[in-house]
Amino acid sequence: MSARVLLVEDSPMISGALQLLLESGGFDVVLATSSADAVEIGSRQRFDVMLLDITLPDADGLTVLHELSQRGMKPLTTYAMTGHSDQETRDRCIAAGCEDVLLKPVPVQQLLRIVSEAVA
């Protein structure tokens, strides 16, 4: 069974590229473009992996993880994605329950490997 990925990314340009990549890698991808959107989609279906852009237009992306945990719908593994991975951001993401922080643009092979390993 192919892994189900919830991609939370507000920029269509970036989500387009990542969706193309992950679908070519054989994964099922559902896109959410805001925190509210992600919480709604993530509450209805279970996901193996969540790729979470932490800078979203409506709220801090990490609130998505918190909301989904409270609803008992936390994805198996969550990776935060950000443009600036300083120690403070990393600590905040890990404390919120992310597996790791990926610096954008995430090298495509790294992303494919991470998602494959998360569902292995």
């Binding site: 340009m13 990542l18 193309l20 990549l21 070519s24 890698g25 600036h84 120690q87 643009p105 495509v108």
Partner: protein
């Protein structure tokens, strides 16, 4: 107009003084207004730099990701020439990202001064991490990279990310300005001049820097060759940021160099003596 100093003694001088004071006050108000105006414009420019840097990242991230998808044959086979061409897009894109990161960091520092996220770490590990990341570049450029790390080095207390940034920047410059066949080295040990300071040196056998330019290169946006036709490009912020980061730690950064005789950049960081 009163030009004769003796005229100042006449009663009229009192009125003149009042007038002068009024004129000076008006000038002062005008000067204050101009300063405020300039400060506002400066803040606006900083904000603009920060916004534009952020907005540049998004399309660039998409370009790089798409190019990598193509290069890796995820959408179908590519010939070696196509792959080579796509790799250039990726390299160029990543260079742009680094430059944008520098501008963004500088803009942020101007509006909201940077602070340190401190931890205790080993300089050995930092040097190891930064140099191993550059191994392929060193090989590609035909350079030799040497490490001389004192075994007696105590841990350092500071902002690991920022120290990595300084070392990456100094090594990046050394690689850029040293022709093929040259040597680049990193040397770390205790400072012999000042107590409780770790001294880190990044040296190269490259083109060197004239003594006249030793201060200039640390100034924001400054480059030794600032002409549009210059060979080496960059934001002119790399060393400004490096100096800022080192000074935030209470350290010092400087260069010893002469044209044609290579360069030796030095910086100091406080040793964490308490951990021994």
């Amino acid at each position: 107009m009163v030009t004769d100093p003796s005229m100042a003694a006449v009663p009229l001088g009192l009125d003149l003084t009042t007038e002068r004071i009024a004129a000076l006050e008006a000038q002062l108000v005008e000067a204050q207004r101009l300063i405020r105006d300039l400060e506002e414009r400066d803040a606006l420019k900083t904000q603009f730099l920060s916004n534009i840097s952020h907005d540049l990242r998004t399309p660039l991230t998409a370009i790089i990701t798409h190019a990598e998808i193509l290069r890796d044959g995820i959408l179908g086979h590519v010939t070696s020439k196509q792959s080579e061409s796509i790799s250039t897009i990726i390299t160029g894109g990543r260079q742009l990202l680094d430059m944008i990161a520098e501008i963004l960091m500088h803009a942020r520092d101007s509006s909201e001064p940077l602070t340190l996220v401190e931890s205790e770490f080993s300089i050995h590990e930092v040097v190891e991490q930064v140099t191993s990341l550059n191994e392929s570049l060193v090989a590609r450029k035909g350079l030799t990279l040497e490490r001389y790390l004192s075994t007696e080095l105590p841990a350092v207390r500071g902002d690991r990310d920022k120290v990595i940034h300084v070392l990456t920047n100094l090594l990046g410059n050394a690689f850029e300005f040293t022709p093929s066949g040259g040597r680049v080295w990193v040397n770390a040990g205790m400072s012999t001049d000042e107590a409780d300071l770790v001294l880190i040196e990044v040296g190269d056998t490259g083109r060197g820097i004239a003594p006249d330019h030793h201060e200039l290169i640390f100034r924001e946006f400054a480059q030794v060759d600032s002409s549009a036709s210059r060979v080496h490009h960059g934001t002119g912020l790399g060393l400004t940021i490096a100096r800022r980061f080192v000074e935030l730690h209470g350290g010092r950064i400087w260069v010893e160099s002469e044209l044609g005789a290579g360069s030796r950049f030095f910086f100091t960081l406080p040793a964490n003596r308490g951990s021994e």
